[in-house]
């Protein structure tokens, strides 16, 4: 951590020197909530509690962190998760993701189906199975394991026969990228 902080003259308060590396560690943390769903970074509410600062001070601190992180090819992102505002650090440019090509392909198709579903923001698992297994892109076993893997890594969330996009998809693929992926999925698969 210490090595990652650039050694430029620091105009800020000295407290930053200890706080920023800690925030860096917290905002790049990956952990699971009590239901086993993956979470990235930390909820803003808990940051406020832990640092005992008000909104404005936290914003200023996060802005300074974002400025420092930029040099490392990271950017500060915030997102909504379970009704709360969360913060985390993500890569500015593309990078390797933890999925195999098949997983990524299925994720692309799910993104397309979810965008197509409009306000429902979910794709039917049956519809997905019909496309992928019915048209022999995947076997049933592969289909199940791919869905499990996507859920484990926090990309999708399954509930009541539908699959919706989880926080990590929203974080890693912005709106424009999702639209492009949906377009490619329509072209390649459907």
């Amino acid at each position: 951590m210490a090595d990652e902080t650039p050694a430029e003259p620091q105009p800020q308060a000295p407290a930053d020197e200890t706080l920023l590396p800690q925030l860096m560690a917290v905002l790049t943390a990956r952990w699971r909530d009590e239901t086993g769903r993956l979470a990235v970074g930390a909820p803003r509410k808990r940051l406020l509690e832990a640092l005992r600062v008000d909104d404005a001070a936290l914003d200023a601190l996060l802005a300074r962190l974002a400025e420092r992180a930029e040099g490392l090819g990271l950017e500060f992102r915030d997102y909504r998760r379970a009704g709360d505002s969360w913060c985390c650090l993500a890569a500015t440019h593309g990078g390797p993701i933890e999925l195999s090509e098949l997983d990524q392909g299925v994720l692309g198709l799910i993104i397309h189906l979810v965008l197509k579903s409009g306000r429902r923001r979910a794709a039917g698992i049956e519809e997905l199975r019909e496309t992928l297994v019915g048209r022999e892109y995947l076997t049933e076993n592969q289909f199940q394991s791919v869905l499990r893997r996507l859920e484990y890594h926090g990309y999708v969330h399954r509930s009541r026969g539908a699959v919706s996009l989880d926080c990590r998809t929203a974080l890693e693929f912005d709106e424009a990228a999702q639209k492009e992926i949906a377009e490619q999925a329509r072209l390649l698969i459907l």
Binding site: M1, A50, G94, L99, G105, E136, F173
Partner: protein, 244 residues
């Protein structure tokens, strides 16, 4: 679909150029958005209808509309070609191709695993980099030594359960009843001790309470719903930042 063919020798007024270009651009943009494919014959007729306008474009808006019409035609051409070519590609390969397109657009969330420091003996050493060049401060050097030492300990031997329990007991005994500012508490702990304190809090053996003046009191027993334990971010304990 009727096509306006330019009058030979006659120069259509600007309005007709604009409206014709607009028709074509709009038609193809709409079809592109809905995912339809315009047949080659129809597309080619539209292209021929638009082609003669090139000599009559005068205003910037006409030129940009002309550009948009051509881009739409070209995109439709790409879609038509790829659909035809894709019909020969097996499904599995198409899924992989889609995976590639997905990976191209990913901006991954970052996870820093393990000891959170850059290795100073690999690539950096090969270019003659020394960490001292970056951190002349005493604190940084001390922290680096501590990190090195902790890594050394972890490498050299594992910790028995009984010993871990004894360590927890020692930390509990030393800290119980203390009332410290967060900075003072952080100073009095090594990263390992802070981790143990965090474990004690998680097990409900110790609870941290924040006073109004910002100092932290360490009490025995777990937190209750009415008096919740306080979350404390401590340095250098990284594992302890959330659990404490």
């Amino acid at each position: 679909m009727s096509h306006v063919t330019p009058q030979p020798g006659g120069r259509p007024p600007d309005d007709s150029v604009l409206s014709r270009l607009w028709d074509v651009a709009h038609k193809y943009q709409r079809r592109l958005a809905t995912g339809e494919v315009v047949p080659l014959r129809e597309s080619e007729a539209d292209r021929r209808a638009v082609a003669p306008f090139a000599r009559r474009l005068s205003t910037p808006s006409e030129r940009s509309l002309d550009g948009l019409a051509y881009r739409s035609l070209a995109e439709m051409q790409v879609r038509r070609d790829s659909r035809r070519l894709l019909s020969n590609v097996p499904g599995r390969l198409r899924l992989r191709r889609l995976g590639f397109e997905v990976a191209l657009r990913a901006k991954p969330a970052v996870f820093l695993h393990g000891p959170l420091r850059l290795a100073t003996n690999g690539l950096l050493a090969s270019v003659g980099f020394t960490p001292d060049a970056l951190e002349p401060g005493d604190d940084a050097a001390a922290l680096r030594d501590e990190l090195d030492a902790s890594q050394y300990r972890v490498r050299m031997r594992g910790v028995e359960d009984a010993e871990l329990e004894a360590l927890r007991g020692a930390v509990k005994k030393r800290l119980l009843g203390l009332r410290l500012r967060p900075a003072a508490l952080a100073e009095s702990l090594t990263s390992g001790e802070a981790d143990l304190l965090s474990q004690l809090v998680r097990r409900g053996e110790v609870a941290l309470f924040a006073d109004r003046d910002g100092s932290i009191e360490i009490r025995a027993g777990g937190a209750s719903r009415s008096v919740p334990s306080t979350v404390v971010a401590l340095y250098p304990s990284r594992k302890g930042t959330r659990g404490g």
